[in-house]
């Protein structure tokens, strides 16, 4: 049985680009971490060490910089898509390109209560994400665009239960009807099609809905909360085909203060590090276009 080359992929990861718009007195900032990855006809590079068809990762980095200047970064989804299309359309051996962008968010510094025109403070802890995947070549391409966020840390101090669960011989967990529920949310959603979407507005509204549902749903389990969060997004946004949510259950354990003669009616908790529950689900729109490679990991074999 012969030994053969399987799928391959290569690119430049984590190019840290800061794009300043300084057209008027009020500057804008977009602070990005850009990763590009290409697939295609690169077997000779592996099998024979022949680089003739290999566009260097250094060139991919240069292209990311140049596109930040030329195309600009009005919205990260559009920037990612333009870059991915470039690689498939203009670099002959490329059959598929993927561009992933993390965006770090900033707000204007306040001076005397007024937003400053060119000074900024990193805001929030969540990171906004976007991915564009383009397959094809020869003038015909298929495109997937995803948006998302990660490190959105949420906590509710009541309104969460966990009871009535399956028990086996290894079960020791007590049921509870009032616990702290906390997570660091990762959410990613794919668009039905990228044309005509106001990515910034959709991002803001999806984030709003996720936070609102997390807060407002009386939680019987993190599973149920995630479903309700995802469903609310799809109900409000027809342009979204599917959303996937990944939520570590960051356990907050009630500390036993009885040995010190103290009650602890849900007031003092130990925030534990590891292990943690990890709950994940997808919410889909029936009849939406197929996901294709949307949910493959960006670094394909890591």
């Amino acid at each position: 049985m012969e030994i053969i080359l399987g799928p391959t992929q290569y690119g430049k990861a984590e190019t840290r680009i800061v794009r300043i718009y300084r057209d008027g007195p009020e500057h804008q900032i977009r602070d990005l971490n850009v990763s590009t990855a290409l697939r295609g006809d690169f077997d000779d590079a592996h099998l024979r060490g022949d680089q003739e068809r290999v566009l260097p990762t250094d060139t991919q980095k240069n292209t990311a910089y140049a596109y930040a200047r030329e195309q600009g970064v009005d919205e990260i989804e559009g920037y990612a898509l333009a870059l991915a299309l470039h690689f498939v359309d203009e670099i002959e051996p490329v059959r598929a390109a993927r561009v992933d962008v993390d965006e770090y968010l900033w707000e204007r510094a306040a001076v005397g209560g007024q937003p400053h025109p060119h000074a900024f403070v990193r805001s929030g802890r969540e990171i906004r994400t976007a991915s564009a995947i383009v397959k094809g070549g020869g003038g015909s391409v298929v495109v997937w665009v995803l948006a998302g966020l990660r490190d959105l840390v949420l906590l509710k101090s009541t309104g969460s239960e966990f009871a009535g669960f399956l028990k086996d011989r290894y079960t020791t967990l007590a049921e509870t009807h009032d616990r702290v529920l906390a997570t660091s949310l990762t959410a990613r959603w794919r668009y039905v099609r990228p044309d005509g979407v106001d990515f910034d507005a959709t991002y803001a509204d999806v984030r709003r809905l996720l936070v609102e549902r997390f807060a407002a749903v009386h939680s019987l389990a993190l599973q149920q909360t995630l479903w309700e969060m995802g469903r609310a997004v799809l109900e409000a946004h027809e342009e979204v085909a599917e959303i996937r949510l990944s939520a570590p259950n960051r356990h907050h354990f009630l500390v036993d203060l009885a040995p010190f003669g103290l009650e602890n009616p849900g007031e003092v908790f130990h925030a534990d590090d590891r292990p943690y529950g990890l709950i994940q689900c997808a919410v889909e729109r029936e009849g939406a276009p197929p996901a294709g490679p949307s949910w493959e990991p960006p670094a394909c074999f890591a």
Copy 2:
């Protein structure tokens, strides 16, 4: 020449306490990382393995939990001080205690535009810090209280120069009159005395001043910006004896786009990781009480 035991210290580091106040329908949250450290008459533990005078670090953790319930965590400075005083006053062999607290900040989740009573989102990236150091015993103690922040990430996209510097044979840096200035600020300040200070209000105002001065000062060097930031704090806050600022210069390098036929008038930057400049300074109030052990590292020999 004999071999002897030098200074020693021990304690419990990074107890992750979440304190919920649920007195009414509107909950409050204080999310802490608490480290305690004791010095005193502990030579026998080292030299003879005799633990008779050693209060276990596990007990220190328990005490931190119990104090979060009994004393509460109205302000982290007060909580840290109460805990440090306890160890010095009530544990016989303890001659000095230090309590360091990091506080992770939360804001209320918004639902329908209204703040939710018991759901929260981690806000901002800066971490608020407090330290209390108590020395003494036998009824007489001396006390130092410090407050601070770290990971306050600031950037200005213009209004920063670096020119006219000393040059030697290893100097290649070009002078610039317009650059991006960015840092992740650590600030710590010590109070003249802890009595009567509104710690939460002072924290908020010091943070405001630091951001305002960073934004408003036309920077000739990060050194000068730091001095102006510190001076503004001491001018506005008589209760602050001294502030120390540590600011990595997070370099943003202008990308050379000329090879691609593009100008780059301060628009596309590479945000570099390492190395980074590190600029540090203290701003002091003449005649303030002595700093004592205020600026010793928390983990004394790390």
Copy 3:
């Protein structure tokens, strides 16, 4: 178009288990980070908040501990497989289970040149990994077992070229026939079948081959080096069906010392952090059983 629940998965991540064998005077240690994940008939938990069929993640953790005692951890592949089979065989609603194990390696402390019976030093930086995936139920299951490593940091100070590559308008990279080549390797391989494999011996030999080929192959590109590394593994190990390699190109840039009147004939380098190239490839044995879910990410939607 209706909104429906898509794929779901849940489990307990990063249970840190240390298993000591103390049967004789010479102890053994296996230091693990265990993550379990289940799929199956859990829709009611999401859609209705009904936990009746949900085995708590806390129970999964308990099971991992109990299996470390009962089954032991002779080899992490066998331990992972036993645990995954348990969930599919004995927990009714489970249709698939995945167990991922990281193992941190230790060596015996040397005392007087002799290995100590119960004192250990963490060795090396690479982490050994294993995954077991079981699908099925009702007595009929399909099984995949993977092994691997990550954080194996390799460098060669010569014997690496990069030249003759594709150039476009964004290419500025100079060709080189002598550069530093460095990576932090992730490798994962799947077994044709798990029965009869000596996992510890295979692990040791695969690691040996990967290091040897990295060292010995004159590299025309990291792509070619990876192929040669993977091929050597499959040639030597018939029990391996496929190996996937992911290798960041940790760039070492020659420092320009000419401004200081110094030559730099490949002696002083700047080890850069970001961006980095990321080269990935699979090497497969034709006719091997299908990969099934082997290469899906462990946390399915992260």
Copy 4:
């Protein structure tokens, strides 16, 4: 009461230098992370934004590179000292310089059982450290040289007790006469004087002694173990004036398996993350030269 500038310091942190020696067919590698910091007459930079006396941190980085070429990096202590002396001797406003070096250790890749001449594998997890501090100017300087290590992870699976400790109302810890003792050791030692020391040989032997004593001492407390480790170093090495040890107590908690009908005679542990005990002590040689600034934190106000 006037507001004045206090102590200041600035420098370039974390310059990642890799120095290859390629004089013969067998290459050598030294892989460094170098931080420089200067103190002196820099008030004008802060108070007036005047850089006339400020040597840029970029120049400090260049100097570190150039010295790696010119002076070489035979031993990191000598390299650090040469660099610190340069700044004090040759840069007029500098009154004190500190250079901290981390060294990442590599071993030769084995090919066919033989060490390869130019391929390397990162070895071990501990990081070797060195610091040189020079004060003075005008031809007269005082010098301190320190060596050390960090991230040396040690564990013993028996031979450790903790009992007979002080109890107060917050004490719940059970006494134990057989526990797992584990730490990630930081050690730093200062030399009586740097002249004539074989730094590489001393490093190797100090590391050996630390591991040996950790293993061989029957531990009644981590405090006692640290003292015995430090004492052994000073007894064997007259050139060492003082050693300081910082040891997190990485708690390994015995898992309660009784609910599953299983005994757990010291076999299955949970390796906890936080909180952790933190035990620190110094061991000194009486009559040694004064420590001066040796134990100040490198980043003075962080």
